[in-house]
Symmetry: C2
Subunit: 575 residues, 2 copies
């Protein structure tokens, strides 16, 4: 049986699995070069676990007594370690706080429900005794969705990982009823017993849950074929302080406002999703990822768009801009002498064909289906890509991507050890705006980083395409300004998010609103949209039990960090 | 310029266009035979327009004075005719009431906004002066969405037809910003100027609007290719009593709860959709509809499902059961001697091939795209259909369907003239439940009709298929029990709707909740779902200005009609 472990209290990945820097020997030299790092000996590891400051737990004894009435002792935990691993998600501010021993955001208690009744009774007890419940899946969210906003009420982290079963599969209708706490690998393993797959593979796949995906409107790497998570939900159950919201297993309906969509994206503010009936698919017989090299980003975008127009969409198309392409190359595992020699030959060939490696862009494209489908898709897509000047690099760069695709989130920890901040901001826009937005947001972000006096690195990839547009995923990095790391980060983050909004895009394509994107919620969904969400919240959770402070527009949690001179409570606690 | 006319005050279609019974000479003989009609001379036309009883209009002079401040006299109408054509939609109870001169549901006033400001100011005035606003598109709804539920407040029907422009088209992203009051043909004509189509062709296409489609989660005949209307909405604007809810033109987002989905399906209860940015598509170069004859309904369903499994879905697949197949044959235009002879030859051939015409089922399948696409789709689909025992009847039955596809709603009026009730109930379910539900619901419906002492006719077609399931559209007819017509209808309607719910399906796939389906809303979306919707309503429309009484579970509006002996107010008014 797959057992989901907690991630490291201070960073990404399992406690016992470190990031193997030796497997990526080109990464740090590349980072040093592009970021202008001169001092070699930077080494800033996290503080030791004993040095982490943890607020004394608020213990509401009557509430606890009620929880103990129907749950075993091992379902109710308040150990230091449990509180630490549930303190935050894995956003950059989260990592920074934990590395620096600031765990003030930790919950007072962790509850592990094993069935819907446990969830219901925990929420009832919380409502009755004015406590707070923050649903916790894998804790992988990077937008601050798990940020504690209350210091005076008892906060319970409701960790869903024990609710992990595939409850029923309808092989004829290709639907599966699944408990929400299941992690990606466990879910795929259970479904594979039926020859099925959900087809949802976000970067966080190893460390995130079905319920988390639904509550944040997640997108997997193969969304072009299987859709975003909201496209896969057929029915669900969500426990709210007002009772259980439950919908029917029907493909489509006209039953008024679609209440599935009140639960999808609710980010824990209305209740806890306990199970969902999902669209599943037969596992593909065959699967292959090819690399394509384009002359520049613009021609790669045109090729992607043309694939969509021709309804010839592979299950994944991930187009890197020139910066991300260079990073990908630097991230590659060390290669054999032979392979190095072949690379040199390939390079000469490409230069002859007119490729300029400062501008060239790598696209990774996955074909899947029957063997015949894969061959046919590859032929069709290659023909389109060729027309836009691309060269098919074959399956080897695909294999390299497949073997490292879940490693990217480790890079932040690796770089933070070396005094470098790196993070991401992503959005989506219509096709006519993809290139203008890319240029504007990249430039704005670079400028914002330069304003802090260091050299910026900004890269971008596009990995989700739709009939009307696509996502844009910006990655950025810079040397930290010691003592002002978070102000520096928040300035950059604020500028890039504002750039998205100013240029007609959305605050996030698949990372949720959380805390980091709250200041732009009103711009994104209009004041009346915000009012509507507050109204649902008021109706289902009048006691504000569920994840308070989220989906309510506010700049407070970020403003606090931006103030100069460390007046802010959190900063002063740290200094 | 296309000008949308009002439909007949008493029935379907333009005032000046009657149903040409001569074009369907087989229809009445077929109906008489299957319904056991013995008396030839039944003739029950609607009352004359002068005989229609209309409640004296409530006039709220201060509210009216405010409307006149910013609208011209021709935008504010209270003539008898205007009130009559806005009294109801075209549900069976609506037709029955109007035919019998009962227009108590008529609004007191009709307002024709010409821009969003007109809408906003009308709703503000209504909110300030405690009046009611019922948004009105084409008035084609058959679920009682336009039913007046208030007799003491002034009710304004907000007729959107003057807001009919395509405001902007982004040909690169294939999106179009469109005013919500545009009718189907007008919209397609405007889009065709850009070489584009929305691809939404419901049976009501000639007489319904974009805003109405969105507010009721409509489905068009080609939904298998273009999606249901909720799949096409990219952004929208909705004027509510709390202000304008507006969303961004982005393909996908993770900005919390998707507020587009609070507006879609809101059935006029939260506000008025004034415009939407829709996904559009290049017009198909080529298009062809073929008929296929299956041995029975079950094998047709299996073939449809197999097409979905193989991701080989034509833009339309409409499978009739044997009853609906017989009706289609009876509905055909008169044919030439030659064609009759050919039909006889075909029949003999099919009998030789083992077809039993009491069980055989007609499927109509539309292929569209480039000429090559059409040929390829036709080849693939035909191969699947053949494997399930079908015979390709070629494009002639397709042509017959195409020429009459918008005529079906006229049949109810034609039959009511002859003392026959006919109506529809439709739903959706997962593939594993399609056949069991079909059998159960058809049997329950037939039994319910028999209980009123007459011979039932029940037919079914399936015309929207999804990865996980399909819609089921039941049509039923019977001789009216004079003096108890509505009790008889409501008994049948209630039984079939309850059968849908009891067998795991939904209250409607694309006709909305309205009044007719309100009693099943709680079963469908759960009490907490109902509570959530009430909370949104309370937040955006605290004065209950917008279409009151809708999306609030209630059996009252139907109970009234079911009482025995004509005690009910409406019934006694009619007697």
């Amino acid at each position: 049986m797959y057992t989901a472990k907690h991630m490291k209290w201070w960073g990404w990945g399992d406690e016992d699995i470190g990031f193997d820097a030796g497997a990526h020997p080109g990464l740090w030299p590349y980072a040093k070069a592009v970021l202008g790092v001169e001092e070699e000996n930077v080494n800033l590891p996290p503080v030791s676990i004993d040095a982490v400051r943890l607020r004394e737990a608020i213990r509401h004894e009557r509430c606890l007594a009620e929880l103990r009435l129907w749950m075993r002792a091992d379902q109710i935990c308040d150990s230091r370690h449990e509180r630490l691993v549930h303190a935050y998600g894995k956003g950059l501010r989260d990592l920074f706080r934990m590395r620096n021993g600031m765990a003030e955001g930790a919950p007072d208690l962790v509850v592990y429900p094993e069935n819907e009744h446990d969830v219901l009774m925990t929420i009832r007890a919380a409502a009755e005794h004015d406590a707070v419940v923050i649903p916790f899946g894998g804790g992988s969210n990077i937008a601050g969705c798990l940020e504690r906003s209350e210091t005076h009420r008892m906060v319970m982290s409701l960790d869903m990982r024990r609710m992990r079963r595939v409850l029923a599969v309808d092989k004829e209708s290709l639907t599966a009823r699944i408990e929400a706490g299941v992690f990606g690998p466990d879910l795929e393993e259970q479904l594979s017993g039926y020859g099925l797959t959900l087809g949802h593979f976000p970067d966080s796949f190893l460390h995130s849950t079905l319920g988390g995906w639904i509550a944040t409107r997640s997108a997997g790497m193969q969304s072009d074929k299987y859709g975003k998570i909201e496209d896969m939900v057929i029915a669900l159950r969500m426990v709210t302080p007002a009772g259980v919201l439950a919908t029917r297993t029907v493909p489509k309906s006209s039953n008024g406002i679609d209440v599935n969509h009140l639960c999808i994206g609710s980010e824990g503010t209305l209740g806890v999703i306990t199970e969902a009936t999902m669209q599943v698919h037969p596992r593909a017989e065959s699967r292959r990822t090819h690399g394509y090299l384009f002359l520049d980003f613009e021609s790669g975008i045109e090729a992607m768009h043309d694939c969509v127009r021709k309804e010839c969409t592979p299950s994944m198309s991930r187009l890197n801009d020139s910066g991300k392409t260079a990073l990908s190359m630097a991230f590659k595992p060390p290669s054999s002498k032979l392979s190095q020699a072949m690379t040199r030959v390939m390079k000469s060939y490409l230069q002859m064909k007119g490729f300029n490696f400062a501008r060239a862009c790598l696209m990774l494209t996955t074909f899947e289906g029957s063997k015949g489908d894969v061959t046919r898709q590859h032929r069709q897509v290659s023909a389109i890509h060729r027309r836009f000047g691309a060269v098919d690099l074959g399956p080897s760069s695909g294999k390299s991507f497949e073997s490292t695709k879940y490693d990217f989130p480790h890079i932040r920890d690796f770089l933070m050890d070396r005094g470098v901040t790196s993070d991401v901001s992503e959005t989506a826009t219509v096709w006519s705006n993809v290139v203008p937005l890319y240029r504007a947001a990249s430039t704005d972000l670079s400028t914002a980083i330069e304003e802090s006096g260091v050299k910026p690195w900004v890269g971008c990839h596009i990995s989700h395409s739709y009939h009307s547009g696509a996502s844009l995923y910006l990655t950025f990095a810079c040397q930290q300004k010691h003592g002002r790391e978070m102000q520096q980060y928040l300035h950059a983050k604020r500028v890039v998010q504002q750039s998205f909004i100013d240029h007609g895009a959305t605050l996030s394509h698949h990372h949720a609103v959380g805390t980091e994107h709250l200041p732009w919620l009103t711009d994104d969904i209009s004041p009346v949209g915000v009012l509507a969400i507050a109204a649902i919240k008021g109706g289902l959770d009048p006691g504000n039990v569920m994840n308070p402070g989220r989906l309510r527009p506010s700049i407070a949690p970020l403003e606090e960090w931006l103030r100069v001179g460390g007046e802010a409570a959190v900063l002063s606690a740290w200094k």
